[in-house]
Subunit: 661 residues, 2 copies
């Protein structure tokens, strides 16, 4: 086979730990760690730049297990190389409630886990985001402070998912030379051999997207080492297809689906122990092998010390620190505040909220050096690009705007990767209807608690003639259903400012800004320093007569609610209007405040050009909801609003019968 | 250029109609129709098998405009070739409310529109589904009755979206030789030239997935014709990259982004008319050109007549009719009914609902010849494959099970295509958490009103150790938010039978069956012929003492609700339990029935291992909801249910304080 006994023993340590973990947990995936143990050993022993004592070292290489079901591989590596978070007891608690060693790697549980993986293809696209972040940071701080690789282990499943193509395509286009994919080419999926469903030539596929490629025997240490050696100086991202045997070493399950997702069984493990003459009991690694694993990290100590010296002596130290802290500079806050004041004084800024958002984009581009904008090829529609933002181009990463192409899913997952990498605050645009295209990655922004800002314009039937496929109807509800995600739908320029401000200051929560295509009149004309939108919902118009009706509304429907309220007042019924720019934030307010808005004897009405789901919380089961019950239609915005019942006459008529009762 | 003046004039007719439509509508996309007019002309004139007088002809070629924004191209073609639905007035009503000529092609609006397109990449994947349906139907009925092509026009955007790779990959694998993609390779996207974001070699990419490929000048009639000629006898699916100029013929906008998505302007159009010496006014096609267009369809009359004769004389006529009707055979209904009776008598079938679902799968495979199952590589987990279902393999389409591979998005969009094509009833499985991966296509199942059945197992934290990335929490709510989609979550084997029965009988509505990984006790033991689940919600346990509490629950939480109710009864409070297998169906019941379940003075409680959103409709704003507020965790199912508060003690304790009040 052409390997040193030393390396083989190191990889056996991974194999036996992984087998033992799965066996002990009585569930899990042993086949992949056993198949990729050799590749992982060579990567860690000879190439990976890491320091278990300083797991947050900014210039470390990133290692991502995109095939997250093989988590035992990652946990074994973290234990063997000496990461504090993952001790032997953690390996014994694999997949148990409360452990750091969850079924799939969870970012927030332990240092050394660079991203949460499991939903296939996400880790790959996260890695592309990290590799881009590395290049962008390098462009600002130079080779001495930023120059590291991103290694990703991917499975057949990762490469089958569509997101992989989006990520591969943009990585090749942007020539991310510090990105290396190691493909666990084991020819096996859950249903059986890969040829049940696939006959792609992945080498050719990656070449078609401008990658360097190489195919190797994933159990041949020399080939692995040579390939990784070549990758160190590649001028493009590099794809290494490693032919492996799933469940390598298992006498009856090697190379079979049965090695994938279940414990091998005690008997089988006994046989493997015999085969490799592995004498030590479960979870015990022979001392000399463990020592060799532990000594590997020392290889990087010189580099780690050099980097620290460089960092401490650098005149860019403070800037880099500030980039990594992710804090919003005071100058932006001041700029934003004075813009708010100015707009309130002028009190005549009627414009689409996507246009209002562009004002903040300009302000951010001016004051927040480490903000990176982008759009999935809807830049002129999303209004996401500031005048002074130059695009990132292949080989030149000093720009501050990313043309993600028509790749919503990769955009979202790359933004996750950019935040995970550290150094930048990303925002990216598409149409709200296409939030569906990137929903799996939005969910991961929320699950990993990452400040990713989604700028989603054309937020209702107000999109107009493009019709039902492009008109979001259920998307606000569907996004609000995701835990730890803030969904904003501002009603005018002032709320748009406020919502952006909140989103930027949420370091542990992603945000969606749902913005209008069509014009919105400025409703907030009195200046308050306090951010009213931060309450999630607030009274935007008090009743003049005795309170009879409370109308809740968001976004473009708030101005409509105000017209209806006026009609009601004219007809003798006091009407209050509550603007709801963020339902999620309202739910987080103290009970007293919530009750003060929702509990009174007035008739409750809600207006939103979307489905009802979620509004019952505010209006109760018997309130009146004015919204959408079907998909939209193709027509002008104003026709559509009327057609679907969003006109003051219609709403007034729906309300009045209840007032007579 | 090498074209006959005749063909050029035909294509000018498309160009001028498209320009006039967009100009008249004051919005829309002229560039693409102008760029692809030559390709479309050659396709329709020399190759496409169609009959405007019989637009539903089962053996017609399918033509899909995946780049749906270029809808003016399709509408022009339908008008020019004489489809009744699209007359000149429809072209003049382009993008207007109530017209058949919506901003993007909408399937339900006019014959000749084979699928709703616009969300990029979907049409491509629909087409792969249609091409597979064609081969599957051919396997059953032979070349004489079924032998047609599927042509798809795709854009750069279609090919950038991840779904395209999934679809291309499986189409190449399955060797769908009757599938032809025509790529509008115009080098332009909304943000600008394609090289802002992409540098893929698409020819190589398609070759890597086993397609035949050809690159041509999309304005050279000979090259177009030769390429399509080659495609007629291709042994693989064929990709033809047509180099075109967006906005072909426009003196100042040809080849530019500005031709993409806005009217060209009157002045520009005047110049184009002069350039091509086009004398007739807007919307008027010179008689001889219109006549030539109208005569094109006659080319297919012989074939159409031959087919009809063949069909009428065929001993398979009734079988084909039955396939196309999509009706469920009586024998299945009887089998299903007697299974229900048997299980009720035995009254001891405790099993996961995915296992219960497998019983129906077996029954369907036995009785419904034209059902086609599949899974996105989770066959053994989704329990979607019957024993007698052989897989479809490359070149042999007589099997009845589709290994979709790890391609949820393509699976869903292909199932849409299979239904659109006609002849089959498709169902396909994945984990409920990965409904996000195919959500854009699920939305289109609903928008197009297609009977696609999604079998989504592992429907809650009950999935266990695989952890939060795999545990659906918000997915039930998010799916329920989609209009015209039935989301089922049966509580036991009997409800599973009932829900499947409803799903199969909904010809105009897709369904999601959310099924458990873990065991569910049989709760329904008394046999009723009526399908209780069809009510959406119904009383599964009446109160014994005076009614104090009404508990709503779905799926695995119904048995828990019953235990809680028993405890309440023991403590002196009458408790009613309402099983809610389908919230959407409950909303459709008459008001009286709805009120009978939700309006009484008892305390309202709902239990579901998901987010609250949607349940407020049943329990009001002040009911008690027992559910999830965060993402899940990795651990055993039983530990997790306890950890997140789904145990009778905890729920009982939450309820009792309210009863004392």
């Amino acid at each position: 086979m052409g390997f040193s006994l030393g390396d083989f023993n190191l990889s056996l340590a991974i194999r036996f730990l992984s087998m033992d973990m799965v066996e002990n947990a009585k569930s899990g995936h042993p086949g992949m760690p056993m198949g990729m143990a050799d590749v992982a050993t060579v990567l860690y022993k000879y190439f990976l730049k890491f320091n278990p004592q300083a797991p947050d070292w900014a210039d470390r290489d990133r290692f991502i297990l995109s095939a997250g079901h093989g988590s035992a591989l990652l946990y074994s590596l973290l234990y063997l190389t000496g990461y504090e978070d993952i001790d032997i007891n953690q390996l014994k608690s694999f997949r148990k409630l409360g452990s750091k060693t969850a079924g799939h790697p969870e970012y927030h549980l332990a240092k050394g886990i660079e991203t949460s993986t499991g939903p296939l293809g996400q880790g790959l696209a996260n890695g592309v985001g990290m590799a881009l972040a590395e290049r962008m940071l390098n462009a600002e701080f130079g080779d001495e402070l930023v120059n590291h690789k991103t290694y990703i282990i991917v499975s057949d499943g990762c490469l089958a998912e569509g997101i992989s193509q989006e990520a591969i395509s943009i990585a090749g286009h942007l020539r991310l030379k510090n990105l290396i994919i190691l493909f666990d080419d084991n020819g096996i999926t859950i249903d059986g051999p890969i040829n049940l469903s696939t006959s792609d030539n992945h080498l050719k596929r990656f070449e078609a997207s401008n990658w360097n490629v190489k195919q190797i025997d994933g159990h041949d240490y020399n080939q692995i080492r040579q390939a990784l050696e070549v990758a160190q100086t590649s001028d493009k991202p590099m794809f290494i297809a490693c032919k492996t045997k799933i469940g390598f070493g298992s006498p009856t399950k090697e190379g079979k689906s049965s090695a994938h997702g279940s414990p091998l069984g005690r008997e089988e493990i006994v046989k493997i122990r015999e085969k490799f003459n592995w004498q030590s009991p479960p979870f015990v690694i022979p001392k000399e092998i463990l020592n060799e694993w532990r000594s590997i990290a020392a290889r990087n100590l010189d580099e780690y010390n050099r980097w620290n010296k460089e960092f401490n002596n650098s005149n860019k130290k403070d800037k880099l620190k500030s980039y990594l802290s992710g804090e919003i500079p005071l100058s932006f806050k001041q700029g934003s505040e004075s813009l708010k004041r100015k707009l309130c004084i002028e009190a005549n800024t009627d414009e689409p909220s996507r246009k209002s958002s562009e004002r903040i984009v300009e302000l951010m581009a001016e004051h927040i050096e480490n903000i990176r904008g982008g759009s999935a090829d809807l830049t002129p529609s999303n209004n996401t690009k500031a005048r002074n933002q130059n695009p990132i181009t292949p080989g030149d990463y000093s720009g501050r705007y990313i043309h993600y192409g028509i790749r919503e899913h990769a955009m979202a997952a790359m933004m996750n990767g950019i935040v995970l990498h550290g150094g930048f605050i990303p925002y990216g645009g598409t149409f709200l209807a296409f939030s569906d295209y990137c929903r799996p990655a939005i969910r991961l922004s929320a699950l990993m608690a990452l400040r990713v800002i989604y700028v989603m314009t054309h937020d209702s039937i107000g999109l107009g003639e493009d019709g039902p496929t492009h008109q979001p109807v259920e998307h606000l509800a569907a996004l609000r259903a995701i835990p730890n995600l803030l969904v904003f739908r501002p009603c005018d320029v002032i709320e748009t400012l406020e919502c952006w401000d909140i989103a930027l200051n949420q370091q542990g929560t992603p945000s969606v800004l749902a913005l209008s295509r069509q014009n919105l009149p400025q409703l907030r004309k009195e200046y308050f320093k306090e951010n009213h939108s931060a309450l999630g919902a607030y009274i935007i118009k008090k009743e003049e007569k005795e309170l009879k009706v409370t109308i809740f509304a968001s976004g473009s429907e708030v101005s409509l609610a105000l017209v209806v309220a006026e009609k009601l007042e004219e007809a003798g019924s006091g009407a209050r209007v509550i603007s709801v720019p963020c339902m999620d934030l309202f739910k987080m307010q103290d009970k007293e405040y919530q009750v003060s808005l929702t509990c009174n004897n007035s008739l409750k009405v809600a207006i939103e050009a979307g489905v009802e789901q979620g509004w019952e919380r505010l209006i109760g089961a018997h309130g009146i909801f004015i919204g959408m019950e079907s998909f939209g239609e193709s027509g002008t915005a104003s026709e559509l609003f009327k057609y679907f019942g969003f006109d003051p006459e219609n709403i007034f008529k729906k309300i009045t019968p209840y007032l007579k009762k």
